[in-house]
């Protein structure tokens, strides 16, 4: 037991160190264009963490994490255009999606609808938001002095600034530090949550909801809180994404976006935090490569990857690699049980 805790701290320290090295090292390796690319990868990694947390640990199958992502992006854009200072806008971009997730989660979890219905309801809500934001063209749909712009989205959104100094915006190089810093913060937060009593109950509910309920925990409340936290993190990712391109459009709500988030987690590995981050970077990189060529439509490749992983590697890359490493480096007694790959299944 003590060994497990120690190795937990060791892996946490290693991850934190790696994150900090990347944060301060990459600007010396990449030029500005490369760094911008990495910034969007990191924004997607934050988004993947939100899905990885609620799905891999909370057992909640959300097909609409892009709803909170898009809401976060739009909230930031509208708020920063009206407030001038970006600090409050960022807070709103986290709080509003979280509040929306809480409302939706109350509806779903306190309605005790089954897992599959949660998937379909989140999917439906995403389609609703996509349709609504698509039809917001025209002067009528202007919040304060921020026109929503319908299908064309909102261009030239002001970037983040030094808190309290709206006249000192971050340049793209500095945005990288903000994005990577957010990713590290979210990772640390989720590690903390999972190590806490709350996180243990969340995982217990994923493993066996009835048993957790009989032990006196209310699964509805725990699922609601998990879902809300995930919504807030996805909102932060949307805020980073809007900052990256100074642009947000209804495609943030699209089903293709939702599918990508799920693929990030599935490819990287369910029930891990590292997996979604790596999955996001790898898939996003692949999508960028596909976008550069004209022969094959991107959806075809993304779809085939998704089918392939569901059928062949349903537990994702990180757990598989971890098991292989364990088998190589940790001696298991002969005839003893090998590490079980299916541990991370929801």
């Amino acid at each position: 037991m003590a060994g497990a805790i120690a190795s937990g701290w060791a892996s946490f320290a290693a991850m934190l160190l790696a994150g900090l090295v990347l944060m301060f090292g990459l600007p010396h390796v990449f030029d500005l264009f490369g760094l911008l690319q990495m910034t969007v990868f990191v924004a997607m990694a934050v988004l993947a963490l939100s899905q990885g947390f609620i799905w891999g640990y909370g057992g909640i199958m959300s097909f609409g994490q892009s709803a909170f992502f898009g809401l976060g992006g739009y909230t930031y854009a509208v708020a920063v255009m009206n407030l001038g200072d970006s600090t409050g806008a960022v807070a709103l971009a986290i709080a509003l999606p979280a509040a929306f997730a809480a409302l939706l989660g109350y509806f779903m979890f306190y309605g005790r609808i089954s897992d599959a219905y949660v998937g379909v309801v989140t999917l439906t809500v995403t389609v609703i938001l996509f349709n609504v934001f698509n039809s917001t063209a025209g002067d009528w749909y202007t919040i304060g002095n921020a026109p929503l712009g319908g299908f064309n989205g909102m261009p030239s959104v002001p970037p983040l600034n030094i808190p309290g100094h709206p006249d000192e915006p971050l340049d793209p190089g500095q945005l990288w530090y903000a994005a990577m810093g957010s990713l590290i913060l979210v990772y640390v937060l989720l590690r903390g949550v999972l190590a806490s009593r709350f996180g243990r109950v969340v995982v217990a509910i994923r493993e066996n909801e009835t048993r957790a309920m009989l032990l006196g925990y209310d699964p509805r409340l725990y699922k609601l809180l998990t879902f809300t936290l995930g919504g807030g993190i996805a909102g932060l990712a949307g805020c980073l994404f809007t900052n990256w391109g100074s642009f947000i459009s209804p495609t943030a709500f699209s089903l293709a976006q939702s599918a990508q988030i799920i693929i990030f987690v599935l490819v990287g590995g369910l029930g891990t935090l590292l997996g979604p981050i790596l999955g996001a970077v790898a898939i996003q990189y692949m999508v960028t490569l596909i976008g550069a060529q004209q022969k094959v439509d991107g959806n075809l490749i993304v779809g085939v990857v998704l089918i392939g992983f569901v059928l062949l590697v349903p537990q994702g890359v990180v757990p598989v690699v971890r098991n292989v490493l364990q088998r190589l480096f940790v001696r298991t007694p002969r005839g003893g049980t090998a590490p079980v790959a299916s541990e991370a299944r929801p």
């Binding site: 309605g111 219905y117 439906t124 389609v127 609703i128 993304v302 779809g303 998704l306 569901v310």
Partner: protein, 288 residues
């Protein structure tokens, strides 16, 4: 009076459209508990089959009523054999795999045919509702939806095949003990659902147009109708389509088509909250 007539006609068409969209899905979900997220793309394939066949000189009625269900039915059979059958009992994985299939199909069709294809125009003309004009094709859609609902109900209720299918649905182990092969029934059911979906896609092609991503617009509507309908999926789909069709059409008339759809989806989410088992989970429980 004329306006009421027109509204009534539009409501009927909206209901019929929902029935067409949802029935194939209802068969697959209701019988096999498989959530086929590629449903929208099955509709799209049906529409493409009709459009391509018609553009190559096939009679439009033949392409809609025969080519589309045949093509998509066979396609569904292949999909079931190639990967759905490995995923029975793993609901979330099936959702993910079919979602992958959905994206792959959108990508494939875009790669093969580009983002647009020459559509088909609605055959038949119009008829007068007082001072207004209704489309005869809309009437034909209503007739088709009614025939499909009635036909499916009769198939499940009166034939030997229907009896076996319903028995397998209720208790696959018992059915297997009595000499039925559940995998073959599942295969047939999936193909039947796909064929119905293809037929719907073909029928809707003149109304909705044909584009690779047309299915995305339908998939949420279809699901919500099936889930709102509940376990007895033929009756349920009919009832839920009626309810949602009325809401959609009235909201559309008051505001815009976008908010009509939003009203439909919102009311469906609320319905699922109030009746988690769908309409037939509470009422008409003994129907099919």
């Amino acid at each position: 009076m004329d306006l009421i007539g027109l509204t009534g006609f539009n409501i009927l068409v909206a209901i019929a459209t929902l029935v067409l969209l949802a029935l194939g899905l209802g068969v697959i979900y209701g019988m096999m508990r498989i959530i086929n997220l590629a449903h929208g793309e099955f509709l799209m394939l049906g529409a493409y089959a009709t459009a391509l066949a018609t553009n190559h000189g096939v009679n439009i009625w033949i392409s809609m009523l025969i080519v589309s269900p045949l093509v998509v039915g066979i396609f569904g059979l292949l999909v079931e054999r190639l990967f759905i059958r490995f995923l029975y009992g793993r609901m979330i994985d099936t959702m993910l795999a079919t979602w992958g299939l959905s994206l792959a199909l959108i990508g494939l069709v875009t790669t093969l045919f580009g983002t647009t294809v020459q559509g088909v125009s609605a055959p038949l003309g119009g008829f007068a509702i007082g001072r207004y004009q209704g489309s005869l094709y809309g009437l034909f859609l209503v007739a088709c939806a009614a025939a499909m609902l009635g036909g499916l109900y009769a198939l499940l209720r009166t034939t030997r095949f229907g009896l076996i299918v319903r028995a397998t649905m209720q208790n696959p182990n018992m059915a297997a003990a009595l000499g039925v092969s559940p995998p073959r029934i599942y295969m047939a059911t999936f193909a039947l659902g796909s064929a119905l979906t293809g037929l719907a896609g073909g029928l809707l092609a003149p109304v909705s147009g044909t584009a690779p991503n047309m299915g995305v617009a339908f998939v949420a509507k279809s699901f919500i109708t099936v889930l709102g309908g509940g376990a007895a999926f033929v009756t349920g789909t009919g009832l839920a389509s009626t309810l949602f069709g009325i809401i959609d059409e009235i909201a559309t008339e008051r505001t815009t088509p976008v908010f009509g759809e939003v009203a439909l989806l919102l009311s469906a989410v609320i319905l699922i909250r109030v009746l988690p088992q769908g309409i037939t989970g509470r009422f008409f429980r003994r129907s099919t």
